[in-house]
Subunit: 213 residues, 2 copies
DNA sequence: TAGATTGTTAATCGATTAACAATC
DNA sequence: TAGATTGTTAATCGATTAACAATC
């Protein structure tokens, strides 16, 4: 993958969608696709798709289109899905358990190597082929295993202290389900927020707004 | 709340963030705040905050700023959080259980009235003060209880058939955790997608991109 | 009144769409 | 070659930021 200008988040957020759809096409045995076909299937413009892809290189052939399997691999590489970044998860409550088990970490560029909680009834629990550990042993664990990404499935109140500890241990990448504002506090960290409550409120707005018509 | 022009999604997606922060301020006993203060706390520009709020009305006072509790209430109303829309959840797997229990539906404009699954070992399970029902009884349930929103915590493969059934039963609002593309199939539906895998891939890209420097 | 801060208009910036020359 | 479709430049559209008059 060649050196590139900074690509905008709007583009980056569309890449997984392209990737998923191309996997789907590959499974169906489709070998070739044009930007126009892609655009109607995904509800975008052909122009946008070509612009997006050309942020990373010219993957198509004029007059022919794109080779599905090739484009799929290219996007997989761009996304860095072969990274297998060692990752630790915090919080073995309902959400933590869902994230720990539900996600197939092996296929998304991450590898779950540890789960932590601070509640006695959760420590020792089996989850996603791992034993839930006591947060007390975090520092030792990190020095040994060198995780690079942390998932926050803890309440907001617990997140602040935890974040500081992890930041001091050198972790800079976070998948954050808590409402603690990591990126405000640590501007050099890479933070991907999933705020389920916000998502739900947004939906609530749209429903209310619709029915007000 | 007065009649308004169509507000862009960019604005709408910031509203929950404002709302959460104002709740926080209210709890701390702060009574008054200016757009400038808000902007530094939230990492936005003061201009943007004023523009956003003025999509819905002039909630401030020149020379003074905004009254925290009043603005908080206004945004709560705009979001429609008092709606209490009756909602049904599909899928009592890990994610479904997390969503069903973890979210405090009562406070976000929705009210969970039913949980459905099709697997015998889940049907009858207790979850979020509800018994998991057999999908077979869905039609009857809907005709009686008139849910308006459906949450999809089912695999992609199950989503298509389910969506069609629900659409035919008149449901037009979806909180979709599956990778089935609801909005492509039903353009008049209001769909809020939460694609956890996409979120994770986006994070993967950013980490790879960062370390490539 | 003087100072502060909003509401709102104008300027800028960035993202999307359109157009078309290059080329397979 | 003729037809198709890309890669890329130019035009448009929308969102963010800046500026400032209104006014508390």
């Amino acid at each position: 993958m060649s050196r590139r200008e900074k690509v905008s988040m709007s583009v980056i957020r569309r890449l997984p969608r392209y990737y998923r759809f191309l996997i789907h096409l590959k499974e169906k045995g489709v070998t070739r696709i044009s930007s126009t076909e892609l655009s109607t299937k995904l509800g975008l413009t052909a122009s946008q798709i070509r612009q997006d892809l050309n942020c990373f290189g010219g993957f198509g052939q004029q007059g022919y289109g794109y080779i599905v399997s090739q484009l799929c691999d290219e996007i997989g590489n761009i996304l860095g899905l072969s990274g297998k970044y060692p990752t630790i998860l915090f919080g073995a409550g309902n959400l933590g358990r869902a994230i720990g088990t539900h996600m197939s970490f092996e296929s998304e560029g991450f590898r779950l190597i540890g789960i932590f909680d601070n509640s006695p009834e959760r420590i020792g629990m089996e989850l996603a082929n791992l034993k839930v550990r006591d947060v007390a042993g975090l520092e030792e664990f990190c020095k040994k295993e060198k995780p690079v990404m942390a998932i926050f499935c803890v309440p907001r109140t617990a997140a602040g202290e935890l974040a500081e500890q992890l930041y001091n241990l050198g972790i800079r990448n976070f998948w954050n389900f808590s409402h603690y504002d990591l990126s405000m506090r640590y501007p050099d960290a890479i933070v991907e927020n999933v705020h389920l409550n916000d998502s739900l409120m947004t939906l609530c707005y749209r429903i209310s707004d619709q029915s007000a018509k």
